[in-house]
Amino acid sequence: MRNPLSKKVEPIKPSGIRKFFDIVSEMDDAISLGVGEPDFDTPWHIREEGIYSLEQGKTFYTSNSGLKELKLEICAYLGRRFGLQYEFNDEVFITVGGSEAIDLALRAMLDEGDEVLLPQPSYVSYEPCITLADGVPVIIELKEEDEFKLTPKQVLDALTDKTKILIMPFPNNPTGAIMTKDELEEIAKICVEKDIFVISDEIYSELTYNSNHVSIASLPGMKERTIVINGFSKSYAMTGWRLGYACGPAIIIDQMLKIHQFAIMCAPTTSQYAAVEALRNGDEDVDKMRTAYNQRRNYLMSEFKKIGLDCFEPFGAFYVFPSIKKFGMTSDEFATRLLMQEKLAVVPGTAFGACGEGFLRISYAYSLDDLKKALKLLKHFIDSLEK
């Protein structure tokens, strides 16, 4: 038989998270801080709206780009929260989660050999999606001493004639790093000067704790060269609804929509109706969840200090990214031993790029009680190392 597999797909490595997932799934009493989704249930009024839409028989396809009322709500929301102005009819469309939008943006913009600047540590899907779109990922290694922010120098050093796109993954999964307006302005200046397009993944934009999120697309000269990706998963605790959206210049959105039309048809209808309710009446839910995450973040930072775990203070998403370098182990060894000895699961930083070596991603999308139990185990483990 001939090899049934594509030469492009086969060499792509499965996510580094897989290994831990497999081990943890086999243990029945493991505690995990390895989850990348909110612990809250979707607020009831949002779920109820989804149920109501089903009762009314709204079970058909929507238009390819999504419900008009949802697109209108999204435009209004982006305007009031981040000062972004988009036309609902040709500059925004609804996707199956932010992940689909990442894939589409890359496929719509890349030709073979085009280079994409990819800051890491960052979400697991960018690199394979770049490769699948025939692009060449150029990794920029973010540094702990820069609080895992992207610096202008790093961008300039990585630029070549072939650079077409810069991925901006802030607020960041896994580090929790954010970028301020001043810092973004410097990056934006380079993008305008060097004619680079930006894919800005702002899925955690509602989860920042010391200042409001700033979208790079809101800076001068950037709207016409930026695809903003956002969604409902993190801000409204709606991961399973699979709903995101992409906004940007009509010329790019149009091409993304073309792929979406053939590959997906449209995002789930029930989810779209629920999302309209989320945007209309969900601000308070978001505030409540943000407050809870922030309290847990404070709690973790204070406990890390007590148990002697070094960690820069992150101000976004729901992750902390402590350094384990002083224990003389790789991230993978540390995480594996922690899992075997204490039955506590965390994700090694290397799952998010090679430069995550020496770090762990710890999620605080857990109740305070769960965090407490987990920290006790972590402390016990660290004490055993120091003996």
Partner: protein
């Protein structure tokens, strides 16, 4: 900070002060002082425990009673309410808008005991013109906490990117 402390302890009054101060990134003394201050000002009026008596061997009956009263000159409803809330059997008393005046919530050991209290103590009170008693059959939710037995199952996968 007061509002934040209240939000935290309103769902768990047993949370250690150390935890509150860590969660709010404040020192312990400040948090203790704020709590004391709110206790003194009767912002925090007590720390009762939410118990589902149905899950114990103890018999408890809860009744909600609507009362119409004749308000008193110079004292309005307050004096009447006071006569009522001083009874130990009375859990809560609210002044209401609408078709009646006071809502009284009574807890007793049996329906008999509650009935006796209503007929002998409440309805005989001067100024009380009528009462209507409703017994609680089942408590589903109280204080924002769901009291039915529905098990919270962890639906999330243990590790996700």
């Amino acid at each position: 900070m007061k509002k934040q402390i209240l939000d935290i302890i309103s769902s768990n009054s047993r949370i250690p002060t150390d935890d509150i101060s860590a969660m709010l990134n404040a020192d312990k003394e400040t948090v203790e002082k704020e709590i004391k201050c709110m206790e003194d000002a009767k912002v925090i009026c007590g720390y009762p425990t939410l118990i589902n008596w149905d899950n114990t061997d103890c018999e408890k009956v809860t009744a909600l009673i609507e009362i119409k009263v004749t308000p008193q000159r110079d004292m309005g409803f307050n004096k009447v309410a006071e006569r009522i809330y001083k009874f130990e059997e009375v859990e809560s008393v609210y002044l209401m808008s609408g078709g009646f005046d006071l809502t009284v919530i009574i807890e007793g050991k049996s329906m008999k005991e509650v009935s006796r209290f209503v007929t002998e103590k409440l309805s005989t009170l001067e100024y009380v013109t009528s009462t209507a008693t409703y017994f609680v059959l089942k408590k589903y939710k109280e204080h924002g906490i769901i009291m039915t037995d529905e098990k919270e199952k962890q639906e999330r996968m243990l590790i996700t990117p």
